[in-house]
């Protein structure tokens, strides 16, 4: 099999599946970082993910409306920059607890010494 040819295709296919559902984690991380309006969340997600997570503003608004309805996110209206007032989103107590629990159960696994070593170990 020609690995040079197959690798990018397989990697893209894996990444497409892997990224599904990850937007929530990135949104929550951006709000853990501090209150933000939609464009700031978008900027944070794209920058911190090294542009691997690209998100449309509409998609962010839709997700934020859902999260607000569920009580994990809320917003306060603040001054806009020479424009209309903006909604500054933040994590509620439930949202912070949810993120912490998710990280403990799913993300911290990768900080286990053995797993860290495996991730950093280079195959010949």
């Amino acid at each position: 099999m020609n690995t040079d040819k197959e690798l990018p295709k397989l990697l893209t296919a894996w990444e497409e599946t892997y990224k599904k559902g990850q937007l929530t984690l990135w949104i929550f991380l951006s709000l853990k970082d501090g209150k933000k309006y939609v464009d700031e969340i978008k900027h944070f997600v794209e920058e911190q993910s090294n542009q691997t997570m690209l998100c449309e503003s509409q998609s962010l608004y839709r997700n934020l409306r859902k999260f607000q309805h569920l009580g994990v996110v809320n917003y306060e209206v603040g001054e806009g920059n020479k424009g209309p007032e903006r909604k500054y989103y933040f994590l509620t107590e439930l949202g912070r607890d949810l993120l912490d629990s998710f990280i403990k159960r799913n993300i911290n696994l990768f900080f286990n010494e053995r797993i860290k070593n495996l991730i950093n170990k280079e195959d010949k």
């Binding site: 599904k20 559902g21 929530t24 839709r62 409306r65 859902k66 309805h69 569920l70 009580g71």
Partner: protein
Amino acid sequence: MKSLTNNLLYFAMLFIFGAIIFRFGLSFFLENGSYNLVWVIAAIYFIFNFMIGWIFGKRDHISLPLFDVGFRFHLVTFILFNGISIAWFLLELNSQKEEIGVVYTTAIIWSFFLVLHFIFYLYAQKQSIKGINKEEIFD
């Protein structure tokens, strides 16, 4: 669960408008013996309701994907249509060729389908958190 959304309210307002026009047209054409036009206005009324249901239902789902299998829109339609129809008779705006019994019969038959729809709605709620399908929350 947030049940009364803006899109549902817009739908309800347009539905009331359409239902009044329909009842007026129905009574007017029946009174004047223009039976062919009764079919025309009924068809227009059906298309109008289908369109506003489609447009506002879709907008409602995009805005907040409540997993209610369309039950809220159905319930509002049921209450408004039958309410307006009964009020039409109570206000004596009906033609002499209309009978209130038809309205009651329609409501009773329709109730059966509404209850069926409600059962599906309850089933959908079991798969939801605060009205949003669990599978759609973090998609």
